[in-house]
Structures are given as C-alpha cells and as structure tokens.
C-alpha cells in the first residue's frame, strides 16, 4: 500500500491544481484561527497588502485606520497621499527589517539615520517618501509629521488584535552607519545616493525570520493575544540590484519569503499563512491574474484570492457589504449648511421689492 493512497484530492497535482477551475482552488487554505468581523485588524506590508485591506474593509472587517484622510480628499487623492492604503500612513513596507525598525522607533527603541531627504527644495520622510508626493516645506515639518505618525502607530498597535502583514521583498537599501532600511533607494524619489553611505542588502532567510520574531515579540509584549496573518506578495521586483536576472532575483526573493512565512506558520499557533501568492503567481493561474506588464495583479486575481480567504472565514464575498473607507467621508454639517431665517430674509429684502 502506498502512503499516498488515502490522501485527499488536495494532495495531488492533477485533482488539486490542474483540474481546478480558475475561479479558485478548493481546499487551498484552511484557517488556523477564526477572525470575527469585530476583531481589530492592523494591516501593513508591500503594495499587495493594500488590496487585502480594501477587501477586508469592504466585507465588514474592522480594519483599523488611525490616520484617516482629511475630509474632501477624493479616494484617488487620498491614496496618492498615503491615506486609506493601510492602517496607518506608513506607506509600503516591503521588508521585515523596515517593519521592525518602524515599531522600534515608535516605541522608543530605535532612531533612524539620514531619514530626511531633499529634492529641489522640498523635504521628504525617507522612511515613507511617497506619502507626501510633493514633499514638505522644511525638515522641521517632516519631523512634525513623523512625530504624529509614530504616535498614531503606537495607538494602532496598542489596540490591534490581528496583524495582517504581506512580505514583499528581500532586497533593500540601507544607511550603513545607522542600519536604517529605506523603502526606496536614495535618489529615486528624493535624496542622493552615496555609495559610501548607502549599501545594497539582500536579506537571507535567517535575518528575515529573526526580524519577524522580534516583531512578534514586541507586539505581543503590548498585546499578548496578538495574532498574525502572513501573506507573500505575488508582485515581482521592478528591478534588482543583485546582479542576477530580474526573473531569477524575483523567484529567489519570493521563495525566501515564502519559506520564512511557512516556517513561522509551522512553528506558532498564533501565526497563520494565507496562500494568495501560490494562487496568483504559480502554475495554477497560467499568468491570467496579471496585467499585460506581467507584474500588476489584476482585479480577477485579487477577487479570487479574497473569495477563498473570506469563504474560509465564513463570509460569502458578496454577502457582507462593509464600509469602503476609500470612499469620501460624508461631509459633516457645519454652521453654514442650513439656510435659516436670516437667509430667507436677505432674499426677500432684495428680490421682493
């Protein structure tokens, strides 16, 4: 008798993958723990995490937003200014060391170096350079914004019960003297590249694993019941500085991240892994979940992945219309909103003569 003889269909490539319809793979994901719609969720990670946040919100999950957009910003403008993408306005966090440093900084255990960049007289927070696309007026203003941001990050992680994080990349650029990790290479959005100060870094399995363990330890020191859902972004690298072909570099990077996520999920009851990466980027999808650039994930891919996640958590994807927090805030009533007797009188005075 073969040890494979009694295994379920999910264990076999033909029944588990090749014969599955493109609308999803049955039994791909089995949740490790339940998440109720009331559970306070914090979300962060690479750009693919934006889609996860959005869909969870749309389906009634309590994805926190501690830095909501000011009234009046259209949803497109809000996203352009880094609002509504995640649970705070930290922008994309591609590598786990960046996440670790953000948390350490927020709680007073880390001071980043060389983190205010300049471009044509405008100043940028190098640790989230895209959230102010036009930069700020002065370094002091950047400091003020960051101080407030860190206070909101503390509020987020003091409160959140579930943390959804998407691993994005292994490659990054580091400020050598301080070890500060940047989400973009100096000189790309702002700042200037200096080969004596800025070093390329391609994190290996042990470093990523160890960094995430420190993240977990820090967050569970604040909230011992904190649970984690990890995903790996299926979005390939735009470019690599590793001297490899970008395809090889992408597969290497994603494989390391997938391995770390798998190891963490295997070892800890409070860490779950959701296989959106496999669903979108593997043989199964035949590339159909990517746009023509073979990089951006299309809506069908996101929808298919989220359907699987939501169904496993007991939510029919079309059944629970939640609040789309990307939509513009309804305008609050103010003192000028109502036309009162004064306005009526003013019209009568001029027009009833």
């Amino acid at each position: 008798m073969s040890p494979y003889e009694r295994l379920p269909p999910r264990a076999f490539w033909r029944s588990g993958v090749a014969e599955q319809s493109l609308t999803g793979i049955a039994d791909l994901y089995r949740k490790k723990f339940a998440i109720t719609p009331a559970a306070k969720i914090a979300a962060a990670g690479s750009c693919f995490a934006q889609h996860i946040s959005r869909h969870l919100r749309l389906h009634g999950y309590s994805v926190m937003d501690v830095e909501p957009p000011p009234p009046g910003l259209t949803s497109e403008m809000a996203r352009r200014f880094g609002y509504t993408l995640y649970s705070a306005r930290y922008g994309n966090i591609y590598v786990v060391r960046h996440l670790l440093q953000l948390l350490q900084e927020a709680y007073g255990h880390f001071e980043p170096g060389d983190w205010i960049w300049e471009r044509q007289g405008r100043y940028f927070d190098a640790l989230r350079p895209a959230v102010e696309p036009n930069g700020l007026d002065s370094p002091e203003e950047v400091k003020l914004h960051r101080k407030q941001h860190l206070a909101r990050v503390r509020r987020l992680f003091d409160t959140a019960e579930v943390f959804v994080f998407t691993f994005g990349l292994t490659e990054t650029w580091i400020h050598a003297p301080s070890g500060t990790v940047y989400p973009t290479a100096p000189g790309t959005v702002a700042g200037a590249f200096d080969s004596n100060l800025h070093l390329f870094k391609n994190f290996i399995f042990d470093e990523i694993y160890s960094d995430f363990m420190r993240v977990r330890q820090l967050l569970q020191s604040l909230r011992p019941d904190m649970r984690f859902i990890l995903t790996v972004s299926p979005v390939p690298l735009t470019a690599t500085a590793s001297d490899q072909h970008v395809l090889s570099a992408t597969l290497y990077s994603k494989s390391v991240l997938r391995a770390v996520a798998g190891q963490l999920e295997k070892e800890y009851a409070d860490i779950d892994y959701f296989p959106s990466y496999e669903l979108i980027a593997s043989h199964f999808s035949r590339g159909r979940f990517f746009e023509a650039n073979l990089r951006s994930v299309n809506e069908a891919g996101i929808q298919t992945a989220m359907d699987i996640f939501l169904r496993e958590h007991g939510v029919e994807s079309a059944a629970l219309p939640g609040k789309d927090q990307n939509a513009s805030d309804p305008l609050v009533m103010d003192a000028d909103e109502e036309d009162d007797v004064v306005c009526e009188q003013r019209l009568l005075e001029s027009f009833a003569r």
Binding site: N134, E141, S328, L331, D336, E337, C343, R346
Partner: protein, 259 residues
C-alpha cells in the same frame, strides 16, 4: 466679450448682487436673469434638455419681472455666474481645521498635521462637492459659454466679538456654532494662509472644470479673511453682504470679462 443676456444663479448671497446690478455704470444693468432660492431648495436643480429647472427656484428676468417659471433656458443666456451656494472659505476650511492643522498653527492631540498640498487637494474636493460647483458643472455639460463662480463672502469681522445673547433665538444657535468652528481660523495668522490655499484650490478646480473663479475683492476683507463690517448686510446679519459689496464683486466680474 460683453454679455447681453447674463444669468446669475445663487442663494441668499446673490441678494447683494441684485441690489448692485442696477448701478448706472454696470455692464449688467437691465440684462440679468436671476435664478435663485435658498441652497436647500436648489438641491433639486437639474437639466431638462437645455433648460435648468428647479421646482422651488424663483426667476426674475429683465427688466426685473418675477416670472412664474422655475427654469432658465441655457441657450437664451450668454454668461452664467454662480454666487454663494455653500462655496465658502471659512466653512470649508473650518471642516478641515476640526481635524487637521498646518505646521505652525495652534494644535492639540486630536489634530493631525497636514501639508499644504494635501490641504489644497482636500479643499478642492470639498469645493467640488458644494452646490455652487455641482450646478456650474451641470450647466457646463451643455454649453461652452463663460461660467463664473463667486464664493460667498467671509463672515463679518463683527462675528468675532458679537454678543450672542443680543441675537434672536432663531439665529443664536447657528451663530454659536459658527463662532465655535469659524472664529479659530478668522485671524491673520491662520485665515490669511488658508485663504491663499483656498484660492489656489479653486483656481485648480476651475481649470479642470472650465469655470472661472472670481475672488472676494481684497479690499472688502480683513487680514483674517473676514468681511469688513462696512460690507455686512445689516448690523445683526453677519453672514450676508450689502449693495456696496455687490458692486465690488460686479467690478471684479467685469474686470474678468474685459481681460
């Protein structure tokens, strides 16, 4: 281009224009059709073919005859100007300032810092949602004729020091709310900065929607972006402006047409 058949559309803030339009030297004398009502009443305004219709609007056609119709024919007019209709600097900025502060302005923990460019984008969004811009866009859908948008004047400087007890109960509550949310920005330090961003935002919006924004005449404003008391409609009406103000606005409008 000198208009021969302008159409002025507004809420109570068009009243000062009505008072001023008959000035002997006005370009608009004896030419203007007014389409007006309270903002709340004009919410139902829609396009029916090439006519602008509201069940509760009132229309006065030259030479100032109230007519029974509640509509204006777009093709019969060669210029449109929108007055007030909730497009107000203090109103929009105070909504933002309840939650956000530009760097250097007094703040407390519930406020988030906001950059000038985010403030600009937010004000553009808030303005786009006002009745003035919504109606102007409605008209723009069916004509290429000039469309001007004139915001309502800032509240009178008197609001800063008004004794609320002296006001009648019908307006006291409103002024209490106005004072609470508006007065913090009605000063030179904050109001002047916000006004510049507001004007820039409206100009950007105007460029996108092909509308011409006509600024509140500077000589009618205090440094804190209030309207000077000599331009307020009555001693106890701190929100509306008088004929003198209307004349200044018409001069601005005429200046735009001559350019």
């Amino acid at each position: 281009m000198m208009p021969t058949a302008p159409c002025f559309i507004g809420n109570s803030h068009v009243a000062c224009i009505k008072d001023a339009v008959d000035h002997p030297q006005s370009l608009f004398k004896d030419k203007v059709t007014f389409f007006y009502s309270r903002s709340k009443s004009l919410e139902d305004t829609e396009l029916n073919g090439r006519r602008l219709i509201s069940a509760s609007a009132q229309v006065i056609s030259p030479p100032h005859i109230q007519i029974a119709q509640t509509e204006v024919d777009i093709d019969s007019h060669d210029l449109f100007a929108f007055f007030g209709l909730r497009l107000s600097m203090v109103s929009l900025c105070s909504r933002l300032y309840e939650r956000c502060r530009l760097p250097g302005h007094p703040t407390d923990p519930q406020h988030s810092p906001i950059s000038r460019s985010a403030m600009h984008a937010a004000l553009e969004g808030l303005a786009a949602d006002t009745l003035a811009i919504r109606l102007a866009k409605l008209v723009r859908q069916c004509t290429d004729k000039p469309i001007f948008v004139v915001p309502q004047p800032g509240p009178s400087e008197t609001l800063r020091r008004v004794d609320l007890e002296s006001l009648g109960p019908a307006v006291r509550e409103r002024f209490e709310r106005a004072k609470k949310s508006w007065v913090p920005i009605m000063n030179e330090e904050i109001g002047g900065v916000l006004y510049d961003i507001f004007v820039d935002a409206l100009k950007s919006l105007g460029a996108k929607e092909r509308l011409v924004f006509v600024d509140q005449p500077r000589e009618t404003m205090t440094a804190g972006c209030c309207t000077k008391p000599e331009y307020q409609a009555h001693p106890k009406d701190l929100l509306h402006a008088n004929r003198l103000y209307g004349l200044k606005v018409l001069q601005e409008l005429e200046g735009c047409l001559r350019r």
